[in-house]
């Protein structure tokens, strides 16, 4: 079996949750593998991350370079091309960094690429057997990946249970000298923080959340009335913000807010992983959707098959009568 590597994303000297998830994912490919983590960055933050993840990996390859102070995917790619052995399997998180890095890196290393891997079933020789989803999670697929010349797998965050054992006791190896020239055609300028809105949905106990099933802007009012009757706050999925029907600060998901309510009402939301990725703390989830096969019903506690445009006004009416 090929050598397995993971790439560790980190911020402020702290490794991302995916660092330990990828360690677990690597074991699903090859239970006996000696897995190497690659950490890029610069200075004391980088050292802190390397020392931290060393407990979970056989080896940690550190690449310290000022050009990597901000993880510019193009510069990271150049470093990886120079240090990865031929035929390596590299695991990346399927987040906004992994999406930026993985596809192009696979071309440059002439290895296979699989995006958004939802599960790893195992290997058959040099063929990896994986599970993915298509159509925003409405169907799943078994996928084979010919890894004979190497593979880059972007693993969906949250699907592999982190390996917390911290028993690998790996050593940190400085590979900075092997990284080569990291000049890139894309230059990081600055970070613009997301706007703060009128309500902070991250503090709400009860959320009525609307998705594309609301169909029209005017119908937002129907959801608002329900939220008011319940004493809940109103939140939404991404298409509602894209359409400018609600403020970005009310968007739940990986590219929006992370909420931790006690009760979450998903109204006309299909249940994509990017949406669910913003819901933490296992709230009691109620889903109303007209499609009985909507993926949201697999994760909700209670499901109701109904047209939200008819269901919500009736529910509001009944609550007001209480």
């Amino acid at each position: 079996m090929a050598q397995i590597f993971t790439y560790i994303t980190h911020k402020g000297g702290v490794a991302d949750d995916t660092a330990l998830e990828l360690a677990a994912a690597a074991k699903k490919i090859d239970a006996g593998a000696a897995v190497t983590a690659i950490v890029t960055g610069t200075g004391s933050d980088l050292d802190a991350v390397c020392n931290d993840v060393a407990a979970s990996y056989s080896e940690v390859w550190k690449i310290d370079n000022p050009a990597l102070a901000y993880p510019n995917a193009e510069a990271v790619r150049k470093a990886l091309i120079n240090i990865l052995p031929a035929g390596a399997i590299l695991l990346l998180p399927h987040d906004t960094f992994g999406m930026d890095l993985g596809p192009g890196l696979s071309i440059k290393t002439n290895s296979a690429f699989v995006a958004d891997v939802a599960d790893i079933e195992g290997t058959d020789g040099t063929t990896l057997k994986l599970v993915r989803q298509e159509f925003s999670g409405q169907v799943s697929t078994h996928v084979t990946c010919d890894a004979s010349a190497g593979a880059i797998l972007n693993i969906r965050p949250g699907v592999c249970k982190a390996d917390e054992s911290k028993s690998a006791g790996g050593k940190v190896v400085d590979k900075s000298g092997n990284a080569g020239d990291l000049k890139a055609g894309r230059k990081f300028l600055e970070m613009v923080q997301a706007e703060v809105g009128d309500v902070d949905i991250t503090k709400s106990d009860v959320l009525v959340s609307v998705g594309r099933g609301i169909e029209e802007q005017d119908n937002i009012e129907i959801a608002k009335e329900l939220a008011e009757a319940m004493g809940a706050d109103l939140s939404c999925s991404r298409p509602i913000v894209d359409a400018k029907w609600m403020e970005k600060s009310r968007q739940v998901g990986t590219s929006g807010q992370t909420v931790k309510p006690k009760v979450y009402m998903a109204m006309g939301i299909s249940g994509s992983f990017q949406h669910l990725g913003g819901i933490k703390g296992s709230p009691y989830m109620i889903a109303v959707n007209k499609n009985p096969k909507a993926p949201i019903f697999q994760v909700a506690d209670v499901g109701i098959v109904a047209n939200i445009l008819e269901f919500m006004p009736e529910l509001t009416e009944k609550i007001k009568e209480l």
């Binding site: 930026d100 995006a115 993915r132 996928v143 970070m191 929006g256």
Partner: protein, 263 residues
Amino acid sequence: MEILVCVKRVPDTSENEIAVNSDGTDIDRDDLVYSVNEWDNYAVEEAIQIVDRVGGKVTVVAVGDDESEEVLRREMAMGAHEGLLLSDDAFAGSDGKGIATILKAAVEKGKYDLVLTGAQADAGAGQVGGMLAAMLDQPYASLVNKIEVIDDKTLKVGREIEGGNQEMNEIQMPCVLSIQTGINEPRYVGIRGIRKVASVEIPVLGASDLGVSSDAVGAAAAKVKVQDYFVPQLGAGAEMLEGSTEEIIDKLIELLKAKGGLK
């Protein structure tokens, strides 16, 4: 500025319930409503807006069968100036790398300052743009939600990252960008607009026109292959409330009260 936008014809998930066919080899494609991939529509709108500001031309390109012509026409009705269909039996079964290989050949037949793709399409991969950029040896930025033209060589682009924060970058053209939804408000296309472009000729190029070797694309070249489709049973699934709407609402209110959902 010469801009090429890659567009894909996909089943419209807001119009269809996607189901697996009887033998699990595909989704059930009878009676599906197709449209242009949501992300690609934003990419075309962005290209049109850039050209409106700085001049130039927008070309839309699709890899697909004859039916993909309809999405090219739709995007031309929006304001794209030219369409290009890349179609060949040899392309069938291509994986992401295969599609990028075909698109690369089309890019090299033109002279584009900027190539746009959607951030992802129906299989949720988000791979073709980054692969295409690497094959062309051009800089790339994914999940772009802002584009500012600085001069004829330089763009300032915002990438949407976790938490809705925006990473600003300077990038040199020619380059490839994948476009995230919400970057703009795609214009409405009426039936009138579609009629206007109904008879515009859309060139069709096959493997030999593009100089693409048929063993570099298609099912035989694909390292990544879908074996079957299925609907997973994850966990226990939701307790489905059934009965009359009245009964359902009474039960739901009881549950909401118990779980602290009513104040």
